[in-house]
Amino acid sequence: MLFADFVRFTYASLAAHRLRTLLTALGIAVGIAAVILLTSIGEGLHRFVVFEFTQFGTNIIGVSPGRIQTHGASLGAVNTVRPLTIDDAIALRRAPYVQVADPLVQGNADVKHLGKSRRVTLYGVGPDFTQALKMRVASGEFLPQEDPRSARAFAVLGSKVARELFGDESPLGNRVRVGGERYRVIGVMQSKGQILGFDMDDTVFIPVARALEMFNRESLMEIHITYEPTAPLAEVEQGIKRILTARHGAEDFTVTSQQKMLEVFGTVLGAITFAVAAIGGISLMVGGVGILTILTIGVAERTSEIGLLRAVGATRKRILLLFLGEAALLAALGGAGGLALGWSIAQALKLGIPALPVHTPWSYAVMAELVAVAVGLAAGVMPARRAARLDPLEALRSE
Amino acid sequence: MIRLAGIDRTFVVGDEKVRALREVNLQIAPGEYLSIMGPSGSGKSTLLNVIGLLDRPDAGTYELDGRNVTALSDDELARVRREKMGFVFQFFHLVPRLSAEQNIELPMVLAGIDPAERRQRLDRLLAEYGLETRARHRPDQLSGGQCQRVAIARAMAMSPSVILADEPTGNLDRHTGQEVMAVLERVHHSGGTVLLVTHDPEIGSRAHRRVRMVDGAVVADERS
């Protein structure tokens, strides 16, 4: 049988009961739409988070004191017997492929200027901070390149702090009190906005040595390292570990590459998306039951038609393929409809809730259609076989 | 008690209009045994359906037992049908998944009659129409004659005033057909009004009053 005729025949039998076909296809469509929508949201979230993270650049490694992790952060960053020092950071600059090694301490402090006071996040960093985290100064300059162990009392303000304390005036050259000590403002950062909940504009940057003193700490919380993008990550990590272990006598620190973190996060999010999509896929399963039901009824209704076909020379296999073809076509139509439906809802969501990230990759769409057809075929097997097995004489005799 | 005046009924078939009944006037007294005959397409079935309140005339009036039933709502028609009319069809129209007695019971179930009362009537009907041994069988397990007897019993279940039979022997062999006619005539003997549509002159001539129709109009109305 020519393929074109096959399609025509199948299409005709589906078109004979338009409403029935429509409703059956609708069942599959709803299932596919649910799956597409959910995976789109999952994919959107994934991209969103990756984007947020990679705002800092992907070739970042964080070194923190201690090895024990609770909830993703190192306990040693809080308190530790073995400090990570500024000297360690300076030493790590010599590690292979390392571009920048910037020390970090973080905390909370009051910033005061002429009676106005603001509680801000305080970052004690080295002069290479802007390179490490790809942030830029809007006016003035960042902390000067000097020995971080004996840095002068300079401060760089985040854009929001500058606005709140100085209004429209330029804060450059003015003095502020940070945590009770006097600092001179030498720069204002570009507005960066919120990153994963942290407001980067409501911060003040001071030299790390002074911050350590202010907080009465010996140990840094973290050292940010950027490496050459083309360098093999494993080698970079090895180099870092070697240098620090030599200095500390033991591996008493944790090296976390952002790449690895992204991978882990990606896996977790992927698993969640899969689980949720599977739940949506239950609708698809029910849609499949729908096809099964309608086809079963259809075979019973068309018994005499099947008998006739056999009488004029159709083989069992041909009958089987005919009914399977109907099932597949039905499901494919439903799948296409579902794709359209799911995609439009996703777009509507994007418009209605801009905060919700949604993204539908082409590969998902293709997969979804294939899954729909597979469901149709699976559902169609039993009725098709029953049709193929009908005895032509009996079939013709039935009314 | 049945009074039809100026009854008109037109059907649209494809692009054409077919006037199935043309200004039919007919009066039927209670207890009459009447046959309606005519060639195919003469409107005899339509007339039966109108009398049986299965179909509504497009024009004219229909008085049943002194009440004008021409303009009743669908639900009211259904109720009157249930109480006063009993149909017997050529193709029996038994519900295939129900047993003989469940089929007979149907009108009583629809009317909401309680099971005890239904059982009583059922037993009476089964006995009267010789169906006691066949009560639990399904239609595909009954002969044609038995099926039609079940249909008649069903038609009689609500003790209707009128029995309307549309070609009741059309699907039966001659002998069985005679048996079924005997059953119908027993109903008449007990005082029921029996209206019979048939194209078989032998069957039709048994009636006491013979109405003949051609092209939607009554052309003859004889009594014997």
Binding site: N79, V81, G107, E218, G280, V286, G290 | D75, V109
Partner: protein
């Protein structure tokens, strides 16, 4: 028509078409089972979290150093060195509040713990004797930290079960000495196996007196202070008192964050409830698909049972009765399917309980009612159109076809 007869009529219709009845039951069953199973997973997670919090003691207030203007109440878990520390004196001052029953100051960090040649980097907690009661911890052997002046450095410690086995093997650890940094501590107690509880795995930590930890990590600053209010009703007063006491001590600055466990719990509870609802809703979409299937099958039935419908009308059935017959069929199907689904859903739940006995999987009551109800409502809704079509059939036409 009597209700009993109506039900029997519908029942016989369903039995008359076994294949399609079974398939619709299957479709409805899958939908309901999915909702029940999925919501019990979500509810299990919620109850687990709530119970975990409950095990911490619900009159708990947590005081954290640090506060930010824009971030408001959440400075983050480990962010928070400030020029003005949260000190032991601050913590002790909190006892002045009438609403506070107990306090426990906390210092945490990571350190190497040495036993002979064995070393293990372990989280070290510095606190007071009251910590055990506030955190509902249990000691398996020996005792917890003794009641001493929190400024006193006493060389004793309590260790977790896992720490004991890793550092001492099969040997009894009680009474032995270990070294942290350059200080030695005697083990006076071993914690009962508790596993992870909201952040801390007590099996893996070493607890020393507060002053000892402060010396170890060379810090005056407290990591946080745990405060137990006298009763649930007093929590709000306690919170207010705590904030005020600290503010006065810190020169009028509000540089701490005070969280009530209630608030955190409530947030988690809300989030997880919403999640369970959302996921249940997704599963319920399958019921809508089942409804579409019912509509499809009913429409076919109207066509296939034309003669029967025509007959019923001839026998005097009203339009309403015809509609009721169809709707009743649909309702029976929905209830049957829902019944099967509930059973299967419960089985799934039992399987989950077997796999993860720690989590209290249980379908929320609203799901057990909503799922079958949705099934029935969907079935009825999707049958209305076919039922109306059936009721409108012209009996003459319906009966005339062979």
């Amino acid at each position: 028509m009597r209700l009993g007869d109506l039900l029997e009529f519908a029942w016989r219709v369903l039995r008359g078409y076994p294949a399609r009845t079974l398939l619709i039951l299957l479709a409805m069953g899958i939908g309901v089972a999915a909702v029940v199973a999925v919501t019990s997973l979500g509810e299990g997670a919620r109850l687990y979290v709530v119970n975990q919090f409950g095990s911490l003691g619900t009159n708990l207030i947590i005081v954290l150093p640090g506060r930010s203007e824009t971030a408001g109440a959440m400075p983050g878990v480990l962010v928070g060195k400030t020029p003005r520390n949260l000190t032991l004196e601050d913590a002790l001052a909190l006892m002045r509040s009438h609403a506070v029953r107990r306090i426990a100051p906390l210092v945490v960090g990571a350190a190497d713990v040495h036993v002979g040649a064995r070393i293990r980097e372990t989280p070290v907690l510095g606190s007071t004797a009251d910590l055990m009661d506030i955190r509902h911890m249990e000691v398996a052997l020996g005792r917890f930290l003794p009641e001493i002046d929190p400024r006193q450095i006493l060389p004793v410690c309590v260790i977790g079960a896992k720490v004991a086995t890793e550092l001492f093997g099969a040997r009894p650890a009680l009474g032995e000495w270990l070294r942290i940094g350059d200080r030695r501590f005697r083990i006076v107690g071993i914690m009962a196996k508790q596993g992870e509880s909201m952040g801390f795995n007590t099996d893996e930590i070493v607890i020393v007196p507060l002053a000892a930890a402060q010396a170890l990590f060379n810090t005056e600053a407290l990591f946080r202070v745990l405060v137990e209010a006298k009763s649930r009703e007093q929590i709000a007063y306690a919170k207010a008192d705590v904030e005020e006491i600290i503010r006065l001590r810190h020169e009028g600055e509000r540089d701490v964050t005070v969280i009530t466990q209630d608030a955190v719990l409530a947030t988690f509870d809300r989030i997880l409830r919403a999640l369970t609802l959302a996921v249940g809703g997704i599963a319920a979409i399958s019921l809508a698909v089942a409804g579409i299937l019912i509509m499809n099958v009913m429409l076919i039935a109207v066509t296939q049972r034309r003669r029967e419908i025509g007959l019923l009308k001839a026998l005097g059935a009203t339009a309403a009765q015809i509609r009721m017959a169809f709707v009743t069929e649909a309702v029976l199907l929905a209830i049957g399917g829902a019944g099967v689904g509930l059973v299967v859903g419960q089985i799934a739940r039992n399987v989950a309980v077997q796999l993860y006995p720690a989590i209290p999987f249980q379908s929320p009551w609203w799901a057990l009612i909503a799922a079958p109800a949705t099934a029935v409502i969907t079935a009825v809704l999707f049958t209305l159109a076919p039922a109306r079509r059936a009721a409108r059939l012209d009996p003459v036409q319906a009966l005339s076809r062979r």
